[in-house]
Amino acid sequence: MQYSEIMVRYGELSTKGKNRRNFIDRLAFNVRKSLHQFPNLVVKAHRDRMHLQLHGEDSTAVMTSLKKVFGIQNFSPSIRIERDIEAVKEAALTMVKEQFFEGMTFKINTRRSDHEFIYDTNEINDLLGGYILKNVPGIKVKMKHPDLCLRVEVRVNGIFLSSQTINGAGGLPVGTAGKGMMMLSGGIDSPVAAYLAMKRGVEIEMVHFFSPPYTSEQALNKAKELTAKIAPYVGHIKFIEVPFTEIQETVKHDVPSGYLMTVQRRFMLRLAVLLAAKRNGLAIFNGESLGQVASQTLESMVAINDVTALPVLRPVVSLDKNEIIKIAQEIGTFDLSIKPFEDCCTIFAPPAPKTKPRLDKAQEYEARLDIDGLIERAMAGIKISEIKSGETFLNQQEDEFAELL
């Protein structure tokens, strides 16, 4: 069924007091951005609800995109019918038939905002209910917890019918919780962490370290494509690539192998913090989960986190690997994440990294290096691009191939 309007119910922002208007405006902005490919769509954000007028846009496609926008509790597609009771009857019947299954129960729930309409609420309930009972064999009426509740709203500009409530993505509108820098490797965890950060309203910018020739162009493209996979939740995401070869070579050369990983990570964090300072980021996000690998012990976090006072937030810190994989599959990043390209975390992985590195040792080894010089040169080489949802990077010949196919 093609719907004419979608009513959106807000998520947690109902409780946000004075900031409420900001949240609603931001959500409307995000909705418009996510639905930009539907030019006829009109978004009207009111205090309690948002109304999307479709004006002929494909409701199924709109709803698919809408499901990804954070800050939406749920939404109901509705169809607008002329204020003619016969037409309403037919539309109601079509709607019920579309969802009918053996033994289904239903009720009609009418609200009138226009009290001039010739039938009152009870009369409408009776008329429609009777018509459906007569024309759908096997359907029963049930007032408490029916399988299907057909909502009828009589307004001045028409009668609106809806029967479905579809869950939204929940969370908070992206951008209402400030900006953070996301350290994106290319593995399974960091895209999930990015997704979870966005879910709590954070606008993220991806920071990716790459070390040619030790890491390939494909690894960089994989990180970009991962970014494109989670871009639909916000429209587009900034991607910052940081050259990391010199730092990795130097650390490998000058630092005892047990501390390679710790010192490398300290450099990464320093760079992310610098980028945050330049770009108004308020926090650093990463995909660390406690105990997964050597770098992800509390001792290790202490030794690495030491370089900054900014909050370093780890959205997947307490999730099991299987829980992370489940989310990665849901958001469509898993298959891409497991593509076997070396990234900056896997090259130069020491044979036996310290699982309990000591902060003082890390500082001591690091003091031998030209930290400022290394950082400065890395910062001088950064590249920033904007990645839109659905963009592809790994398959550079998509158009060429499309002609073959």
Partner: protein, 382 residues
């Protein structure tokens, strides 16, 4: 030449062959190689898979490439048997399946599996009620073809799906080798189906390539073990030129499918109407929605099928005695035997099978030749 044996195989389309050649010359790397040549091949492989999935309205990860229809049938049946043998050893199929299904079932019977072969009615169709009766607690697979390759009967997959809705653990396999592009895609890709077999050379792709649909979450043991290609379910270096060519052939096949189906129906109707006037002609294919638009099976009483095929061949018209696979074995058609057609009539059966390239002009020539042959054979036959 008038080619009316499209259910046996089809001619590779020029634009499909062009893709095959280009890919084998330009994108010849092994998709598993790490370097650029391999990566490009991998990307083309996945883009082909995505195109096939989109055309069928399924998820990309639900498409697995095979060497063709026979492999697809073998894989789904034996793969299910291996995967689920600890849950049960009973399989259900129909008595009119392609030999790729029937002989695979027979092999499993020798290994201790039990198989129920559902009977068909005089229209060549299984009855959903028979299926319901045949289901046991240890049933692991129901395998039913979409379109019968000999007479074109469309099986009631929707009714079968409705019954199997109540048995969520049973694997439901559809052999759609003859069904794709014939206007019944919703029936084939029904809500309940778990596995579907497809074969490329039936729709103008090269030989030796096909694919199966495997519903997300369903488990199937591999038959080909090796380097882990196709998600470790079908090892062997991917036949990329053929895969890309098939993806293109499928797109071309399904492009304005309705119009093409209508065209084939008109030709079938035209021939049907003409030859049904002759008293010695028996038609096994019917003109209704329970039959595919492209297959017309008939006999001229008293004339062996082989004789008819060669007589038409002399006039440069190509048809076949029922299925191409059994036609050289001098066997009675399995489908007609299952329909309880007397052997004398069944040995006379021939099959006209159309595709979108056939024309009404060809059909007119066909009936002219038919008239001549009919009167000629009447002399020796009366």
């Amino acid at each position: 030449m008038i080619y009316l044996d499209n259910s046996a195989t089809t001619k590779v389309a020029p634009e499909v062959l062009e893709t095959y050649t280009k890919v084998s010359q330009k994108i010849w790397g092994n998709p598993s190689s790490l370097h650029d040549l391999g990566e490009n091949a991998y990307n083309l492989l996945e883009q082909s898979r995505q195109q096939v999935a989109n055309l069928l309205g399924v998820r990309t990860e639900e498409i697995f490439f095979t060497s063709g229809g026979t492999e697809g049938d073998n894989w789904v049946i034996k793969g299910t048997a291996i995967e689920k043998m600890n849950y049960g050893k009973h399989l259900i199929t129909s008595s009119v399946e392609h030999p790729a299904v029937l002989n695979t079932m027979a092999q499993l019977e020798k290994l201790g599996f039990e198989v129920t072969y559902l009977p068909v009615d005089k229209h060549g169709r299984v009855a959903a009620a028979d299926l319901k009766k045949a289901i046991r607690p240890d049933t692991i697979l129901v395998s039913i073809m979409a379109v019968n390759n000999e007479i074109g009967a469309v099986q009631p997959l929707d009714e079968i799906a409705a019954i199997l809705q109540n048995y969520p653990k049973i694997h439901f396999h559809v052999d759609a080798v003859q069904g794709i592009g014939k206007g019944i895609q919703p029936l084939i890709m029904n809500k309940r189906v778990d596995f579907v077999t497809f074969s490329g050379h039936k729709f103008h792709a090269p030989r030796g390539i096909g694919f199966i649909f495997k519903k997300h979450g369903r488990k199937l043991a591999p038959l080909m073990n090796g380097g882990g290609q196709e998600k470790n379910l079908r090892s062997g270096t991917e036949n990329l030129p053929a895969i890309a060519a098939m993806a293109k052939a499928l797109r071309l096949l399904l492009d304005s499918e309705e119009i093409k189906v209508q065209k084939q129906l008109e030709i079938k109707q035209f021939i049907y109407q003409h030859i049904s006037q002759f008293p010695k002609v028996t038609l096994f294919s019917e003109m209704n929605s329970q039959f595919a638009p492209h297959i017309l099976c008939f006999t001229i009483d008293g004339v062996r099928g082989e004789t008819i095929v060669h007589a038409f061949e002399d006039q440069d018209i190509y048809l076949s005695t029922t299925s191409a696979c059994s036609s050289k074995k001098h066997e009675v058609s399995g489908t007609l035997r299952a329909m309880a057609i007397p052997e004398r009539i069944a040995t006379s059966a021939v099959r006209v099978s159309l595709d979108e390239n056939n024309t009404l002009v060809e059909a007119e020539k066909f009936i002219k030749v038919f008239d001549q042959l009919y009167s000629r054979f009447e002399k020796i036959n009366s």
